[in-house]
């Protein structure tokens, strides 16, 4: 079965579907032709409950609340970092739509694996932000009892098998998680996020090959935020496309507008369906933008222009979703303001919880190294 969708082609790009202006990416974005995808891959789901099936009021407001929570959480994380309470805070501001649109289709039994920049993956997967903030501050009440920190947040009960501080390192791990689903015969899906920098790591290619020959239910999601630390995408990615690399492994690769939660939602719905149906892996390259520096203390204006930043920030994913919600009358401004306030209060609660929590007991230095030893 040969499935191709959303690949780079010479067809004119279909922009403006949701009223957004044409982008000036170095690589051309092809907005996916959603109808044709649906025609190729009928949404058979073997009775599996996907939390959000369709774009409607419920799913749109869930995405909005999730994305605003991420934004407020990251702003507060930055304040905590600036106050000297944590180091190496990799902010995901600007990239909220990507994990949100995908996790809308995942349940708690599905797995997500992340990167060094993974707070947004964790929140979108439903992790408790109190425990997350506590982990950032190294407190005993954190997701990993304060032993992992900002780059190693995990909660297996929520299907978050961990952020990972080594670029690309989680890609084969996620492939193995998908192998478990295949061997056990479940319809679980494994989603791994990585950046454009990780697309140059050999393990992506090894994993796409393995997932390709074994038809594993894994979704490779490249958050192309244009920068591998301080090195721009157009310098480090030969061929100018991550999605195109799927071609070599016989799996679908699609490039989407990662600033559009709606595009992410629709495309990932098909990718998740494919995985659940046993049709194998999908590679999604979501074009997005990191608003802040790589880790906070660096000034991104050292390697990119103010004009570029302003351009991408003008396509803010939260504002775009907000506009769609208001234009479609799914909610009014008062209702959205109430959600905003709820998110701020939740982050305030998390901050208070984290700051008031104790540091780990000294004995925790040498516990949890092994299950038994």
């Amino acid at each position: 079965m040969s499935i191709t969708f959303g690949r780079f082609s010479n067809q004119p790009a279909e922009f403006g579907k949701f009223g957004f202006q044409k982008l000036n990416w170095h690589a051309v974005i092809i907005a996916p032709n959603l109808k044709s995808i649906s025609a190729i891959v009928p949404a058979l789901r073997r009775g599996v409950e996907m939390p959000y099936e369709e774009l409607n009021k419920e799913s749109l407001l869930w995405m909005y609340e999730t994305m605003v929570t991420i934004r407020r959480f990251e702003e507060q994380s930055r304040r905590e970092a600036d106050a000297g309470k944590l180091r190496g805070m990799h902010s995901s501001i600007g990239q909220e739509a990507v994990p949100t649109g995908i996790c809308a289709h995942l349940n708690e039994k599905d797995y997500v694996l992340g990167t060094h920049r993974s707070h947004h993956h964790c929140i979108a997967k439903g992790l408790d932000i109190n425990e997350m903030m506590a982990e950032l501050l190294g407190k005993s009440t954190g997701t990993g009892k304060g032993k992992g920190g900002t780059m190693h947040i995990a909660d297996i009960n929520k299907g978050m098998l961990g952020a990972n501080g080594v670029v690309g390192s989680n890609i084969p791990v996620a492939t193995g998680v998908a192998l478990t689903a295949k061997v056990k015969g479940t319809d679980q899906v494994s989603v791994v996020f990585f950046g454009d920098g990780a697309s140059s790591q050999g393990v992506l290619h090894e994993s796409m090959n393995l997932a390709g020959i074994w038809k594993l239910p894994v979704i490779f999601v490249c958050e192309n935020n244009r920068y591998a630390e301080a090195t721009p995408f157009e310098y480090s990615v030969a061929g100018g496309s991550v999605a195109n690399r799927a071609d070599g492994y016989g799996i679908p690769g699609v490039t989407i507008d990662g600033q559009s939660a709606l595009d992410v939602f629709e495309v990932s719905k098909e990718a998740v369906s494919r995985a659940r149906m046993g049709e194998g892996p999908t590679l999604i390259e979501a074009q997005t933008y990191r608003y802040q520096g790589h880790f906070g203390a660096d000034d991104p204006l050292g390697y990119r222009s103010k004009e570029e930043q302003e351009y991408y920030m003008s396509r803010d994913c939260i504002l775009m979703l907000q506009k769609h919600i208001l234009d479609g009358a799914y909610a009014n401004e008062t209702q959205l303001a109430a959600i905003d306030m709820k998110c701020i209060e939740a982050v305030n609660t998390a901050t208070e919880f984290a700051n008031n929590s104790p540091f780990p007991d000294p004995k925790e230095l040498i516990t949890d190294v092994y299950v038994t030893y």
Binding site: H152, V173, T175, G176, S190, S207, Y373
Partner: protein, 342 residues
Amino acid sequence: MTQAQTVRQISFIQAINEALRQEMHRDPDVIVMGEDIAGGGEREDFQDAWGGPMRLTKGLVNDFGRLRVRDTPISEAGFVGAGVGAAASGLRPVVDLMYVSFYGVCADQITNNAAKMHYMFGGKVKVPLTIMTGIGAGTNSAAQHSETLYSIFTHFPGLKCVVPSNPYNAKGLMAAAIRDDDPVIVFNNRQLMGLRFEDNVPEESYTVEIGKSELKTQGEDITLLGIGYTTRVCMEAAALLEERGYSVEVLDLLSLSPMDEDAILSSVKKTRKIVIVDEDYPRCSIATDISALVAEEAFDYLDAPPKRVTPPHTQVPYSRPLEALFVPTKEKVLAAALEVLE
């Protein structure tokens, strides 16, 4: 019934094969994967073409099918990493890393993921992964297919490392590794693989406890400490020393992490002398580590400084006469022991 009839002798390879088969029967979550683990990929007419490069997995695909016995591409970072993910999400994978030297292309998955996930995630994620890998010189395989390298993995908190020395403990340690909830690396010496030993290997399933050494012979004058293949060398040297009237204690370490420090110290406190025989490179090695342990913890009991017998700080050579100079031999152990004794 004579004693000869009660002793069941099988080879090291058969012992590991038997452990894998029994564990796969016992637990449907056990899977095996690696290069040519069956051989022949999915070609119906050529199923089980190899049964593993060392024949360790021969016949498994016929018994358990391709879902659980998986030929992989030559892609160690990919499939060792997949083993980590499979382990963390509910399987008990056994991954074959054909030669330990190939760790160089998948080290990140072993040391950054398998070893660290349990700790980093606050003890809430388990990684019951078993990696089995071939080690050792003496097979005319040159520098990239002859290393030992277990000291590298012993260095990492979070990993367990075991080194069987005969078919009995090869079978028991493999079963124990698979049932263990932590990542365990089983280092199988290739010089031992084809050999049968006098030891009885029960047909039924059993485990050998990880972290425990075995006292092969009890003696009063000197302790010879062996690891895997060098335990055999120690036994040969012990026979030579017994001929000269010495009473020799041979300790088979079996497990490097955890390490049976109590057994090492109690033996050396009794014999007051120790020769540590290790096939790994000499710098930052297990032999060096044990030497330091003995010096720090049993100094007052020693009649002579701890002595190490290791290869020189060099590569494993291809040429057979040169390679014979690399691996510790009974003659070298004898000479070292006599130096310590006299």
